[in-house]
Subunit: 515 residues, 2 copies
């Protein structure tokens, strides 16, 4: 077999059976190898930003890696923004980047570029295979690296001759190294600290959903500490029955107010909170002066073990019932449209176990708080601040969880970055309802300009903030990609459209025209 086939077999033998692909002329042998292995699911994305965003969404739900197939340095560049987002989400992925045959790299051919350099700016692990025999062991190492430390970005660069030359058989990826665990003394010390007034436990990663979230709730119930989480989250359980966690808000001033009174901050599965962006005369760190910040367990360490150890140390048990959100379904909203009514109708109709991908940067803040007492669901959010994640992330989540309904809440400015993902939704027949919030501008920028002290602006700023003249027609854009769509301008039609989207088992798009 050739190197390309040895890699496909290595991936399959190692349990990696999904590839989000956008192949180019450098990956033809890899395409041929994929073609000979129909048990590998190949999902075509019409732009590389779709591949990396989908691999991120897939990992968030599956907690295991998919592959991407990228075309030399420019292809990696196109995927870069969503690889950045995935890195910040703690998602693992295996990027396979084609390159020129090694003997061809000495020439200034059109596609010659710094494949290793661009990978290293964002990947945790980068390797270029030197020959065909190395491809299978390198591929196994890449998969192991991608599964390490709760999920990493691993990029394997394959010069074309390493794909077409003769290789040995496949290699099964070794298990990733054991996750680092805090020592007993630290666990004990923190167990004491959490019982003091002003203590807060800030959780992240897998502690935000499932059994680990429940455990965190018990620790809070037992110790009386505050249980908080960061603003931008890869995945969080929400709705009826979930244990209560306070999420930090985005703007700096209210974030600081939210953290007032915290004198001891314990981090478990998350980084220290920091302002999204620096402003003149505002602090980067939102916690009160003098607050002691201690990491029990970083995002790349053993979150589940740390939670259990801490629960044991504080003596938490089944008897420590955490505070929970109760089911309280509103009626669907009627009459004139508003963002609050979108949230209300969403809360009324969101199906149990739905996955909500949220990249409605500004509108989401007015919509999502309303689903707190809806049926239990999970929310996947932006983590790296690079827009264009939402649609591809929804693709990946829908492919990872074909039995769950996926709802994507996306701002119009953001959606334009990776709108090609609509086509993949249609091609794959994904069970997915996309809601586009057409505020027809970069609302976040209007807000940010105020944040830096500019309160009125003229033609050039308006030209850069408004997506008008012409207005984007999302019904036409969706139709162009093969996705059925409706435009809604009142709450009743929104409810009817959302119901129809959720009842269908294919993709649908709803353009909500709403400032």
């Amino acid at each position: 077999m050739n190197g390309a086939t040895s890699l496909v077999k290595t991936m399959l033998d190692s349990g990696v059976d999904t590839v989000f692909a956008n192949p180019g002329t450098s990956e033809m042998h890899f395409v041929a190898a994929l073609d000979a292995h129909p048990e590998m699911r190949c999902v075509l994305c019409l732009f590389e930003g779709g591949t990396s965003g989908a691999a991120d969404g897939y990992f968030r739900m599956k907690r295991d890696v998919a592959g991407t197939l990228l075309h030399l340095a420019p292809g990696f560049g196109n995927a870069f923004a969503n690889i950045h987002n995935a890195r910040k989400a703690g998602s693992g992925m295996v990027n396979v980047m084609g390159d020129h045959a090694i003997h061809h790299l000495q020439y200034e051919s059109p596609l010659k570029g710094d494949t290793v350099g661009i990978s290293q700016t964002v990947s945790h692990w980068t390797r270029m295979s030197p020959d065909a025999a190395s491809v299978a062991p390198d591929g196994a190492d890449a998969i192991r690296a991608a599964r390490s430390r709760n999920g990493q970005i691993a990029t394997l660069i394959l010069p074309a001759d390493t794909a077409w030359d003769t290789a040995d058989g496949p290699v099964t990826a070794a298990a990733p190294p054991a996750l680092r665990r805090p020592d007993d003394a630290l666990v004990e010390a923190i167990a004491q600290q959490l019982r003091q007034p002003g203590a807060a436990l800030m959780i992240g990663g897998t502690a935000l959903f499932g059994a680990e979230r429940e455990l965190a709730g018990r620790i809070a119930a037992r110790t009386g500490c505050r249980l908080i989480c960061d603003t931008l989250l890869a995945r969080i359980a929400k709705g009826a029955g979930t244990t209560k966690v306070e999420q930090l808000v985005y703007p700096v001033t209210p974030k600081i107010a939210q953290m007032a009174g915290i004198s001891t901050l314990i981090l478990l599965g998350t980084e220290r909170p920091v302002a999204f962006f620096a402003y003149p005369d505002k602090p980067s760190l939102p916690e009160p002066a003098g607050c002691a910040v201690t990491t029990l367990c970083g995002p790349e360490e053993d979150i589940g073990w740390s939670l259990q150890a801490l629960a044991d140390a504080v003596g938490a048990s089944d008897a420590d019932a955490p505070a929970r959100f109760q089911l309280d379904l509103p009626a669907v909203a009627t009459g004139e449209m508003s963002l609050a009514k979108v949230g209300q109708t969403l809360a009324a109709l969101i199906p149990e176990d739905a996955i909500v991908c949220n990249e409605a940067i500004t509108s989401g803040h007015q919509v999502l708080p309303l689903t707190t007492q809806a049926r239990p669901h999970e929310v996947l959010g932006g983590t790296g601040g690079a827009i264009g994640l939402g649609l591809p992330c929804a693709v990946g989540a829908a492919i990872a969880c074909p039995d769950r309904k996926v709802i994507a809440l996306i701002g119009d400015g953001t959606a334009m970055y990776t709108l090609q993902s609509l086509w993949t939704m249609a091609r794959e027949g994904l069970d997915l309802t996309v809601i586009i919030f057409a505020n027809r501008g970069y609302q976040i920028l209007r807000d940010e300009l105020k944040n830096v002290g500019v309160n009125s602006y003229g033609a050039n700023a308006q030209a850069m903030f408004d997506i008008e003249q012409p207005v984007l027609d999302w019904v036409a854009l969706a139709k162009g990609h093969g996705v059925p769509a409706t435009r809604v301008e009142d709450a009743d039609f929104f409810a009817a459209s959302l119901r129809a989207g959720l009842e269908s088992d294919g993709p649908a798009l709803i353009e909500v025209v709403c400032g």
Copy 2:
């Protein structure tokens, strides 16, 4: 004034008055500064790939730099593929990349990324301003760098505090350093060589259009050498009256046949020709074994001076009439559609001085040869092999040359990479006709798979090569972006649609359904 204002004034004072922008939260002070200077033209692109591609097209026509405004490392990532293409085209541009305030960079905030690292993988010149007072001199240096060596990629990284802190006044960019020129002995030696049998002069850069092309034609007429040029060209004059140049073809085997008989190859404004991609058992270099390859003048050296020196050395004068293409307009094609008929009708209707942006990767080879005897026009092509250049490049060319008609020939697979540029065409009311060749797949990949010896393929390869199920509806996609569009399936309607597009002074799109 603050650092941001000092940069805007520096750009204007230095003659840089056009910015292709996609601002993010890190560039608010720069946006405010642009807003205060309406003499700076700000063109909004809804994706950063549109900004860099437009700056490339602008430079190719204007032969001077525009700015781009990019948002941290992910924004640069989105722009990367077309920066790569611009670099390979020899186009200069000034990228202004925002970053976090310097005191904020120590924290793991969501958008923290390797801004310097990603820039250095593709820019000729990268600098991060350390403080506000440095922004104006750094900006002037960036402009000078971008104008150096016939055009370079210069990237200035502005931490937010360097934009908002107090700065001194603007700085006018110094003239770029003098271009390197070949010494007299080399010119004389080459003048001798060109008179020998088997000599070929291969030209590139500015030698492909205008007065320099004419000079190259006289040198060929005087010496009897072959006059050739590379496959992928940033800009070339074409049509009636232009001096004849043989363009090397894309596939390796016919390229080798084309170069047979060349024993002396002189490079003037171009790199040594090399196969686009390596294949098993095919050479990377297409020239015959033993062919002597000599560079008279690299693409970054003084092409105009070198041409004149060579013309003087061979004794070329007005009397040496070069071979020229003669005007020979066909009738517009009628009846059933074919790519040849598209070329025929284009040849019949293409207006004088039109700019044709060609990114119809496979269809273009069947269309463009037919315009050789059309009215004089210029063709801008892909140079770096990264698809998604065509639509943004057309935007930049149309903004650089508002008095010339622009026609974009784009493959459907390619167009999907940067389709957001359609909106910028509508917003700016550009005089531009886009022809999309809907072969509904990545035809180049079907061809390349054959090139590596795979002649039949199954479901996975088909899934990755075909853009069907669903078919893209380009009329709807164009409408969604605010561009009027028609779908044509016969030659008569194509002629009518092209006429209408060219008569209109705004954008129009024609979807040509043709395998």
